[in-house]
Subunit: 622 residues, 2 copies
Amino acid sequence: MSNTTKSKKEKEIITEYESQVKEIRSQLVEQQKCLEQQTDMRVQLLQDLQDFFRKKAEIESEYSRNLEKLAERFMAKTRSTKDHQQYKKDQNLLSPVNCWYLLLNQVRRESKDHATLSDLYLNNVITRFTHVSEDNMRLLKKSKEIIFQLQEDLMKILNELYTVMKTYHMYHSETLSAENKLKEAERQGERQGRGGEAVFSLRTEDRHQRRNAARKIQKMKEKRQAKYSENKLKVMKARNEYLLTLEATNASLFKYYIQDLSHLIDCCDLGYHAGLSRALRTYLSAEYSLETSRHEGLDILEGAVEGLDPSNDRQRFMETHPTAFTPPARFSFQPHMGDQVSQITALPQVQAELLLRFQQLQSRLSTLKIENEEVKKTSEATLSTIQDMVNMEDYDVSESFQHSRSTESVKSSVSDTYLSKPSLAKRRANQQETELFYFTKLKEYLEGSNLIAKLQAKHDMLKRSMAEGYRADIMTTSRRRNSHSRHQDTGKAIPLIVESCIRFINLYGLQHQGIFRVSGSQVEVNDIKNSFERGNDPLTDEENNHDINSVAGVLKMYFRNLDNPLFPKEKFNDLIACVRTESLYERALSIRKILTITPRPTLVVMRYLFAFLNQCKAEASH
Amino acid sequence: MSNTTKSKKEKEIITEYESQVKEIRSQLVEQQKCLEQQTDMRVQLLQDLQDFFRKKAEIESEYSRNLEKLAERFMAKTRSTKDHQQYKKDQNLLSPVNCWYLLLNQVRRESKDHATLSDLYLNNVITRFTHVSEDNMRLLKKSKEIIFQLQEDLMKILNELYTVMKTYHMYHSETLSAENKLKEAERQGERQGRGGEAVFSLRTEDRHQRRNAARKIQKMKEKRQAKYSENKLKVMKARNEYLLTLEATNASLFKYYIQDLSHLIDCCDLGYHAGLSRALRTYLSAEYSLETSRHEGLDILEGAVEGLDPSNDRQRFMETHPTAFTPPARFSFQPHMGDQVSQITALPQVQAELLLRFQQLQSRLSTLKIENEEVKKTSEATLSTIQDMVNMEDYDVSESFQHSRSTESVKSSVSDTYLSKPSLAKRRANQQETELFYFTKLKEYLEGSNLIAKLQAKHDMLKRSMAEGYRADIMTTSRRRNSHSRHQDTGKAIPLIVESCIRFINLYGLQHQGIFRVSGSQVEVNDIKNSFERGNDPLTDEENNHDINSVAGVLKMYFRNLDNPLFPKEKFNDLIACVRTESLYERALSIRKILTITPRPTLVVMRYLFAFLNQCKAEASH
């Protein structure tokens, strides 16, 4: 306790005390007001949030309805179309139509999600805010009751302090006056004592009188001393009480301001932040969920866009119009009224002419092919340019959604992409020009290649026929010998299993790497073989569902397992010897010698087989 | 070539051929129609897509406008409030207001993004679809031109086939008739030959005549033979030509159906899928970007929701209302008119009374503390129950956005959460009941603790004063001896370094484990010591930024380093001897005997130090 404090006058002290109390009292009122104000602001904020979400629910609901209407309008339109019937039937759509349906689905999904959002705003989020608001007002009321009580208590303590201070003042004043009176008495005593000494010669009566007066003064002095001591004790007690109450008051003030007020403000806040947080988190959960759902839908749609497949669609298009696109049957040779010949006849009379024609075809074809190859290359290069143009990756618009500080910059960026007018027009003109060139070249190429196909067919046939003519020539003898059975011979001479396997390999296997070298599946080989043995032809299906190596295996096995091999054992060594002959002419003569004594059915099969193997060799060397 | 084909009559063949050609011709027409149909469907689809996006752009634009209006309405409202002014000023908002602003920002962001979406639909996506549509029609036109050309060529080839077939038929008919004529001639020759032998006895004239006739017949035979041979050659050539043309026709047909048609359908498709894909990807890019932007905004808002901070907000609330919440100055003792005493006076006259009062306070306090501790525990448990209630994590609404097969199940799930009416009402009633109980207990606790604070303050003061009183008592002698300097003594008797360290330890360190046992930082100890030596008091700052062990270290060092130790060396052994005295009474007497001859300043410091150490001991045993 500072000893520098100067003692003040009572009035001054009281004034100071009262102004201090007045200040505290106004603070207490101010505190109540602040808390009320805070709650008012909160209630206002919660009201705003409710209004906000009510209005946003309306907006979301309207948005949802509009999207639903939009989806429904186009759904209804497509539901009646042929495509949709087909969709219902086999779920097997053209890829762009699939995208279109998924786009409509996405809009419906968004519509539903925004309806759910609206519903959650109205029936969950807003209700939560209402509850927070109610809770806040209720808690304020209760907290204020307690604060009011505490403030009342505080004021009582201050009043008590006032009372004990006044008591102290009173007793102290009394002590001071008692002290003064005592001092006065002491002064009187002293004065009388001094007087007594000075007037020693006074008369006895006077002296008696004076003695009486001295006794009186002494008595008074004692009385005043007692009074003073009593007062001093009283003031000591009062001061002690004042000091204790002062200490208690300060402790209470400290506790109220530092502890209780915070505590009670916390009571007002109880659950406010938590409630607000839960309401906002409900909103966030709804928004995030909407986003997830939307994203899922977009991913599905993106998958469909990635699945846009022109060649698959072309296939489906052609399949759905079989009458238009099924290739017609080949035109077959129609022999005229009993004409027995159904092949190119390269008899000596026309052989030279055919040869000339063949040579002409050959040279014409080689020129045409070179020319057309050039056209083809140009056309393909042009196509690839067009493809680059149409596959340009210019669809990223994410820049338009970047939120920079200034609002203006958002809008302007939209036109910066693909669609800026001058460059777009130029690009499109360029694309059309390229297209035009492509079509010119394509037409040129197609005409050229059609001519080539036509001439090539003739060329190939002539080539085959001239080889046949040679064979026909060398086989005149044998044919003449049993000309009556020729028809039957050629009809049945080739076993079904050989003919079918060769047909199959011709159809699917000539470009196949390792044909006759790679072995097929033994199981499949046996299956096919067994089927042939039962009299069926397992290779007639239009679909190529057999492994080419297995089919080759069947053919090899057939020849290997013949009871009488195609080349009889007794002639095998002779044939091998022939192959060793250097001179081609002599080799041919030797082989001919051996083969002339070979039975005709064997020869027919040999010829068939070698024609096929020759073809294989030609393909392989191609 | 199948040998089973029976030769047919000319008319039959022609009919068959013509029907085959007719079928092909109708196929070709059908093909053109299919391609047109396909393009029509595509154009229709693209038209639908354009209409769809035009309408969706309207919806997005309207949605955007509504959101903008919504945000603007509340922004305008808040812009005028005091909070907003403050926001502008220091960016330092109450956390719920911060959430509210970010919520409005999010709506503005969504508004802008949906406007951008609408803009991109109208000015990018739709334009792309228009271009795809234009391109598709243009490509169809060009492809059709080529297809038409190819079909014309094909028909020419078929006509050629017809012509060569007819030629073959003609020549074959002629050959047949020539053969018949030849055979007739041969028959005539034979008949004549047979007749010649039979009528050997005919006359020479007749014989001559017959020879003539035979020669004639022979000539005719030769002529017919020549005619037949010529015809045979002609038919052979014609047949060859027919066969070659047949091959070429089949090759051309094959090429047209298998290669060229696919090729030209691809030409029609050129860029259709790519264009569609780019348009849809633009749409997807826009939607994904919108989603990203929206997600960013939601994350910011989520951060703000996580940042909801009641205690920080309370702090800010109290800081913004300093007049209401700044604790008032302590009430200080006001001595009355020249009263020199400013402390509790525990003179013998009142000592007993004070002691009694102290004891009463002590026992009252211990009862009150036990009781109030119970109330406190109950109140805290209740508060924690409430806190559990208000922090319930019931805000996940993601279930509502799951898209199951049936449409109905989406809506129904909304009411399954937090807000199902009966459970909600029950929970809220429960919460309010708990609140009520909490406030009752809180009030009880606060009243109890306020009383305790008040009594504790008096108790502590009494305790201190009684110790002082005792000192006052025992020091009467010395005080009398130099009563004029008493004031100065008590004022200066305790060195600043001792008083300040003890005050600091009293304030912050009494509950500190290991005080005086654990050594502090030597650097800090020296710092504090040096500061004291320079005449400063480094421990007066209100903040406790000194290590309590260092402060204790300073105190220990001070006593250790005194030139004249507190307990003089010559008296040390006597004092130790005293402590060994069993009887407490005799021990006290011995100590008193030693201390009465101790100089007063030393005694004052000892008393101060022991009072403090005693308090430490009491705290430690508490």
